[in-house]
């Protein structure tokens, strides 16, 4: 026994020594993130990094900021080559990361600080893999002054009827105003917002889910009817002529500055670009921003149905040599105080549990009360189609429903036929 006790003592002291040596040895975690141009988010994360480094002397974070396309291209090859950074940006549509075992199981984090549905978005085969920092809802932003100028009323429940919406499109068009800013120059989803927001209302969340997963045929008459309705809107001139090549950041500017559009269908992360300084692509000072719901859809079973999604999240490399530090870093995000800071600074929702009433900044508070109003009584579907689909259906969906269908270069019949054939 004595011998055992002694060896235990030796083991413990060795352990302590090893730990001390490890602590003394400076560690650098590599970190790749999107949001190079989205200053509020970037500054928020940089502040968290500083906080972490102050609390963990000897561990530093080497952050590289990218634009999304460059980041994704780099990550795909780096992961494949086993040279990915310790921590990186991802969104829940990247199921392939988990399927191929690239991500570290994050069960060790304090998940009680996270909204259950947000955890669910990142849960794969029972284990959570991503820290759901950003959450967003689909919103229809509009220019209130322009709307008044056209003599169009937004109803109290913030949702126009199909007829009223069509009427609005025609009135705007008659005055030479683009009714809705939207562009698919550099993203695989903005054009598709138009169809999925309509389909989730027409079908209700259950059937909509079946549709995305290939369990309900795309040739279903309800789908075809809804697409025809959208086609009638695009034919009335809903979208800019530059739709196919307009980039995401350009679409923002198109809406609020040059040439100015009546509405802008976008995730509630609109703020992260629009609330930048004006010379960095932000909206003009005193821009008359209003928010309404996506219009009611003819024959809809659930006009209160809408999309909520987890957006920007942080995940860890399964092959990281610094597990403990990585978990400690991600853990730094998990507190109500940090969550509230995100709300106040970035003005987008988050998957971290927060208390919006604690947001002190008056502009942010006013903005969140608008978001709350349009979301009152909403029934959510979690995720946008490209987060649910994989492989060929996803590729075809992007080509057809993000690009070709809204651009009016493919008929309703061909669109559903191509999508149906992809499953």
């Amino acid at each position: 026994m004595r011998v055992g006790g002694r060896s235990a003592l030796v083991a413990i002291s060795l352990g302590v020594l090893a730990w001390a040596a490890a602590a003394a040895q400076a560690k650098e975690l590599t970190f790749w993130s999107h949001w190079a141009a989205e200053l509020p988010k970037r500054e928020f994360v940089e502040a968290v990094i500083k906080e972490f480094e102050a609390k963990n002397p000897g561990t530093t974070i080497k952050a590289t900021w990218y634009e999304k396309t460059a980041l994704y291209a780099g990550l795909k090859t780096a992961l494949r080559a086993g040279q990915a950074p310790d921590i990186f940006y991802a969104e829940p549509d990247q199921a392939e990361y988990m399927d191929n075992g690239f991500l570290l199981d994050l069960s060790g984090l304090d998940w009680s600080k996270v909204e259950p549905w947000a955890k669910e978005a990142w849960t794969h085969k029972g284990k959570p893999y991503g820290l759901p920092l950003e959450a967003w809802t689909m919103e229809l932003y509009y220019n209130t002054k322009m709307m008044e100028g056209l003599g169009v009323q937004v109803p109290d429940n913030r949702q126009m009827s199909p007829d009223a919406f069509m009427d609005m499109v025609k009135k705007a068009k008659a005055k030479g105003i683009t009714p809705m800013a939207l562009g698919v120059g550099d993203r695989p989803y903005p054009g598709a917002h138009l169809t999925h927001e309509a389909l989730v209302k027409r079908l209700g969340t259950d059937d909509y889910d079946k549709l995305l997963r290939g369990k309900l045929p795309w040739t279903d008459p309800r789908v075809v009817d809804t697409l025809k309705w959208i086609r009638s809107l695009t034919e009335a001139g809903l979208l800019p002529n530059t739709f196919s090549t307009l980039k995401l950041a350009e679409a923002h500017v198109y809406f609020h500055t040059n040439p100015g559009a009546l509405t802008f269908l976008n995730g509630s992360w609109y703020t992260s670009r629009a609330f930048n300084p004006v010379d960095k692509g932000g909206q003009p000072k005193d821009f008359p921003l209003g928010i309404m719901q996506f219009p009611a859809v003819p024959g809809a079973v659930c006009n209160e149905c809408r999309t909520i999604a987890i957006g920007g999240s942080y995940v860890a490399n399964a092959e990281t040599k610094n597990r403990k530090e990585v978990l400690a870093f991600l853990g730094t995000f998990l507190s109500q105080e940090v969550g509230n800071r995100w709300l106040e600074k970035v003005q987008v929702q988050t998957g971290i549990k927060t208390d919006a009433s604690k947001v002190k900044d008056t502009q942010a508070a006013a903005y969140f009360s608008m978001i709350e109003k349009t979301n009152a009584g909403a029934k959510y579907y979690f995720g946008i189609p490209i987060q649910v689909m994989t492989g060929k259906p996803k590729e075809v969906y992007i080509q057809v429903f993000n690009n070709a269908f809204p651009a009016g270069i493919i008929s309703v019949e061909d669109a559903v036929k191509q999508q149906a054939a992809a499953y």
């Binding site: 780099g74 090859t77 086993g82 350009e250």
Partner: protein, 274 residues
């Protein structure tokens, strides 16, 4: 008389129009590079008055252009040096010595010119990963040597083959070794052809994009074309700044071209002229 003058004028007019068409895009980009985005959006084709020269240092310092340039120089120069030596040795050997596999080797190397890059690029990715050369300048340099080697050998071989063999016999009489014959007789004579391949390889590799985009992800190892792509991605809708960034990439080429236009033209067309 007047008819022929008219014809000449028309011809010159046509040629000038084509010149505007061929170089117009660069001139336009050069004008925009000196203007701010706000000015550009006011009028896209106005002259750059006042000229905002400060945009150049701004673009240079706000991005990693210094790193990109350094990497490009390092990778391309090393690759071209290796290519020249290795290629000239092989070409000299194939042109000078007669042995059974000579034409087989020549033909195998030569036919690689028509290979579409896809046939090697995926496995090159795997191989470089295996040997720890992925995402490194060394790996990219080696790949660059490999992709330009066939064309280099092809151009040099045809030149070496034209050197009269009397020269070599005389050199052998003087007691030159095989290596000395290559290094001190063949190579100096072939200098114009060697210069041609150096120029050709330099330009093609300086502009290379596909292999770089697959084999490099690290910011610190990006070559210039990848760097420009990155710069554009980050700068978003700031057209004026992108134009400045483009000009930074274009200017060195234009300067070199202004001084050595004949050499450059000769080098670039070397594979096509026979």
């Amino acid at each position: 008389m007047t008819a022929s003058v008219l014809k000449r004028t028309l011809l010159l007019l046509g040629l000038s129009l084509y010149t505007a068409f061929a170089s117009g895009p660069f001139v336009w980009a050069a004008m925009m590079s000196l203007r701010t985005t706000t000015e550009i959006h006011r009028s896209h084709f106005a002259l750059p008055f006042p000229a905002h020269w400060h945009k150049f240092p701004e673009a240079w310092f706000n991005s990693n252009y210094a790193t990109y340039f350094g990497n490009s120089v390092q990778v391309v120069v090393t690759a071209v040096v290796i290519l020249t030596v290795v290629g000239a040795m092989a070409a000299h050997c194939l042109a000078r010595y007669r042995f059974r596999l000579n034409r087989v080797i020549y033909f195998v190397l030569f036919s690689t010119i028509i290979f579409p890059p896809q046939i090697t690029i995926i496995s090159l990715f795997q191989i470089l990963v295996q040997y720890g050369l992925y995402n490194s300048k060394v790996g990219l340099t080696l790949v660059y040597v490999a992709i330009q080697l066939p064309l280099t050998i092809y151009i040099l071989e045809s030149f070496f083959a034209r050197i009269p063999s009397d020269l070599f016999d005389a050199a052998r009489m003087d007691g030159y070794s095989d290596w000395e014959i290559f290094w001190r007789v063949a190579l100096p004579i072939a200098l114009p052809a060697v210069a041609t391949t150096i120029i050709l390889n330099f330009i093609l590799l300086w502009n290379e994009f596909l292999y770089a985009v697959v084999l490099i992800t690290d910011e610190d190892n990006r070559t210039l074309p990848l760097g420009i792509q990155r710069f554009i991605g980050d700068t978003q809708e700031d057209v004026g700044m992108i134009a400045t960034g483009l000009m930074i990439a274009i200017i060195p080429v234009v300067v070199v071209y202004a001084f050595f236009s004949e050499k450059l033209i000769q080098g670039m067309t070397a594979g096509a002229v026979k």
